[in-house]
């Protein structure tokens, strides 16, 4: 196992990784920006190293500074967390050439799966069903028209190099295709420097179901069940739960195994998430793969009892997987609520400010556990330079009913004074029938009244 690991991230995930490292007897060096000099998570690190200015591109994205810091503090490995450099193939390649282990997949895997079109092709070759559409990037609007005719309207044009909703356009009819194509290309070029698009049949009322996969460096892989993440606002997840209310045990077994094998087949290593879209008829289509640890990993940890960050470290240290698929059990139900410093009544406008006081959430129900993943303290001022996440509230119960009841209690007990948070929004969500019954889909938030402003 590594003696010292550098953590090139911040906030709750930095703290999460610090604690996992210490659990394995690993020393931690945390790279931070000037704006995070007095950050709460640094209190638990063995060493903090300032790597640059407040702006992310000067610090958390500053590969040169991070690599130099890792060298100078004798780190054997770097954990990139999520976001920032976590899916940067060039950074992974530079770590490896210096003999610093990048805790994640190889540069080649990141590149292969990072390109949406090549990922889709790769997974299709492995037998995963994919959304009917173009095979790779479109050569032009005529290509788009021909394929759209084949798969049927409505269609979705998406940026090959993108994500997060940019460079994406719905198109209901053929007459609107040309304009949608031009607009999407332009936006893709601006956002990602790459105008290429691919086309898919648009699936409405779909549900976002993703599978957690864990692979070692020897070609062995297991799946750790699925998470449902259909509660999204503008392609940003707000709530995740596991298991999904709509996935049967047999579907879990089949899809999970297929996903694990597909991922192992391409030489993947570490944790990864294979995302599917389930259409109303019950067909699951591969969407994309995330080659990093995800924000919502705690729900999987709560139902399997497996520490995903510890597993990441083991895999990176070339320890073969000891987990056997048939020994992995999925117990109970877990739901995660992202608590962001945003005002849900003002269009979720960010509200960075000082947390005057905070009280950790509690629950007084038997068999219901609460987990609060956060790195704040009384008097902590949320810097405006980064995302607005305050913490993740995860509730686990013996079944979904219990988890829902526990969630209400936990959210009500969460005290965060001084800032607006999305806690109130989550309580409204918990009261919505579609959510209570587990019949919601990916269009639920957009179509309803829950999002004010």
């Amino acid at each position: 196992m590594f003696r010292t690991v550098m953590i090139a991230n911040r906030g709750e995930i930095a703290l999460r990784i610090i604690r996992a490292c210490h659990g394995l007897g690993v020393r931690t060096v945390v790279a931070h920006s000037e704006a995070d000099r007095d950050a709460p998570w640094l209190d638990e690190a063995d060493l903090g190293v300032c790597v640059g200015g407040a702006r992310a591109d000067r610090s958390y994205l500053n590969a040169d500074a991070i690599l130099q810091a890792a060298e100078q503090t004798d780190c054997q490995a770097i954990h990139p967390g999520y976001g920032f450099l976590a899916e940067n193939a060039l950074f992974a390649a530079r770590c490896e050439q210096q003999g610093i282990t990048f805790i994640g997949p190889t540069a080649r895997s990141i590149r292969l799966m990072g390109d949406k079109a090549s990922a889709k092709r790769t997974m299709a070759e492995a037998g995963l069903p994919t959304i009917p559409g173009s095979d790779g990037a479109l050569s032009g609007v005529d290509d788009a028209r021909e394929i759209a005719r084949q798969v049927g309207f409505p269609v979705l044009l998406k940026a090959s190099a993108g994500g997060g909703g940019k460079g994406m356009r719905r198109c209901e009819t053929e007459a609107l295709l040309e304009e949608a194509f031009q607009q999407a290309s332009l936006e893709a070029e601006k956002a990602f420097g790459d105008a290429s698009l691919y086309l898919e049949k648009l699936i409405t009322a779909g549900r976002h179901i993703e599978f957690q996969i864990l692979c070692d460096a020897f070609g062995d892989a297991v799946h750790l069940g699925e998470r449902e993440c259909s509660i999204q606002r503008k392609h940003q997840k707000l709530v995740e739960e596991s298991p999904s209310p709509i996935v049967s045990a047999e579907e879990r077994r089949q899809l999970g195994t297929m996903a694990a094998q597909a991922v192992a087949r391409v030489g993947y290593r570490g944790v990864g998430t294979v995302e599917f879209l389930r259409d109303p008829a019950g067909t699951f289509y591969f969407m994309e793969m995330n080659t990093r640890l995800q924000v919502e990993h705690p729900v999987t940890e709560m139902i399997t009892g497996i520490d995903l960050v510890a597993e990441q470290l083991r895999v990176a240290a070339n320890v073969p997987l000891t987990l056997q698929q048939d020994a992995i059990e999925f117990a109970g139900h877990a739901i995660e609520f992202r608590i962001n410093a945003e005002d849900p009544d003002q269009g979720f406008k960010p509200d960075p400010g000082e947390i005057i006081s905070f009280a950790a959430p509690e629950v007084e129900l038997d068999d219901v556990r609460v987990r609060w993943d956060s790195a704040i303290r009384d008097g902590y001022r949320i810097p405006p330079h980064y995302d607005s996440m305050v913490g993740k509230l995860i509730v686990h119960g013996p079944d979904r009913e219990a988890a829902l009841r526990g969630s209400v209690q936990a959210l009500n007990s969460l005290g965060l004074e001084g800032i607006c948070t999305t806690a109130g929004f989550h309580l409204r969500l918990l009261a919505a029938p579609a959510f209570r019954e587990g019949t919601y889909d990916i269009d639920f938030l957009a179509s309803g009244d829950l999002v004010g402003g």
């Binding site: 040169d64 390649a93 210096q98």
Partner: protein, 574 residues
Amino acid sequence: MAKVILEPIGEAREQSFRDDVWQAQREQMERHNQELQIKRDWVRDGWGKKYRERVRAKGKLTTWDRIDRLKDEDSPVLPIGTLVNYGRTFGPDERTSPGAGVVTAFARVHGRWVVVIANDNTVASGSWWPQTPEKIQRAQEIGLRMRLPVVYLVDCSGLFLPEQSNTFPGRMGAGAIFRMNSLLSAAGVPQIAGVHGDCIAGGGYMPIISDVVYMTEQAYMVIAGAALIKGAKSSQISSLTIGGPDVHVHLSRCADHRVPDDVVLLKRVREEISKLPSPACDYYRYGAEAAQPRFDADEMNGLFPTDHRMGFDVRQLLARLVDNSLFWEVLPHNGLEMICGVGRVNGLYTGFIANNPELTDHPAAGNVKRPGGILYREGIAKISQFSRTCNDDGIPIVWLQDISGFDIGVEAEKQGLLGYGSNLIYTNSSNEVPMITVLLRKCSGAGYYAMAGLPYRPVLQLATPITRLSVMEGRTLAIGAFRTKLDDNFNVIAENEGEAEKIRQGMQDVEQRIEGDMDPVLAAARRDVDEIVKPSELRPYLEAAVSMAYQAAGYRRMKNPRIWAMHDLSVLTR
């Protein structure tokens, strides 16, 4: 720390070039590229459609079809010697010899790079013209030096007889092809031959020394054709009856296997190659991926000014030749007129030595600047030591030439540049590591030699469409020829305007004549460069050449990076 740490190099072209400059440079280069493509297409056409149809009417494939089937689907075909004999005609009929009637190219078969030597059966039945033997030997030489399997696709009626005095007797004549066959075999380099058609005399001898020979049903190999045999007509014997597969596969055993046709033959040849050792490239990547540069290969076409007198940032060029655009510049503070360092190409370590065409500081007189594209003492010493170190470590070297020559004058002579230059020549002459020379723009005089020009036996010498190769620039020659008529600053001294005009005209004539000499197509036609490539093709050719340099393990020194002499060099000169 004996680590090889490569750092990012280069910038996106939007940050380093103004849009209008970029556009202009691209357009100029595109014009050159198109002219080159026209010539390539002409060569590719062979003697034309009629001849292709003749070949197909016989149930045979054309040469290029054969190469297409031989190679892996995802493999490029990288020819050399495409323009040999370009612009030459032979005999009173003024026949042309496109590509000297033979295709020599690199391609991958079952992942292994091989050298393919395939007679062009649409050009005089694949016979040998002046320079055909030399072109074939060059391909064989590369196979021998880098231990690459050589595949002969023989369809060759022997010497083109009207020109036999130019191809038969010489030291590098047709006979030397068989000598190279022998040397390849003696060195244990695999050779596989496919016999596709009428192979007479030289053509008959060509396959024999190969390790394994396949013949199609319509192929024959004969020392002399039936036409020269007494009584052949009355006994109705043909070349096929005396030299076809019935005789050679079963009776004489000059061939090993018979196959029905070209298609099956190529399948079999592929199978033979799959039995050979796998390429060692992945072993020598030391776990790195084979990655593309961060910038588009196409950008190479607009990167540098076509006017050789204008400078450019050669680091931008390097950024588009190395994986991930990562580079370790070695000795960056010495000999600023040269850039040298290590990058990866296709995941494999490669040394680069390039001229810096821009002005640099004089090492002694701080505020004086010296023009680039010239070798001064410090630059010579730097690249000399770098070349020796790469050779020590087994790192293949890519020389990127854009040089007008050595420094001249009082200081240069006193410092003994003759000596420093000779030291460099000695090093390159005795190097065993594979060297690849790329003539980017101007390549003059001693500079061309110093930077491993063809006489110094690089395994490959590539040119671009704007290469200028000559002993000196036209203007320099004109100045030399008219020196008595020029003053200190090389301005014309004359009694009157009329005389001055005459002198200027005279100088211009001299310049223009040498300009003509510098056309890279002439060099390619004479085999003074192996191939003219478009700038955007440099990276694919380098990927192939570097992979070929690492493919065969066990024949040359390849030190693991932690014990490179390069680290000592870097530490001692920090």
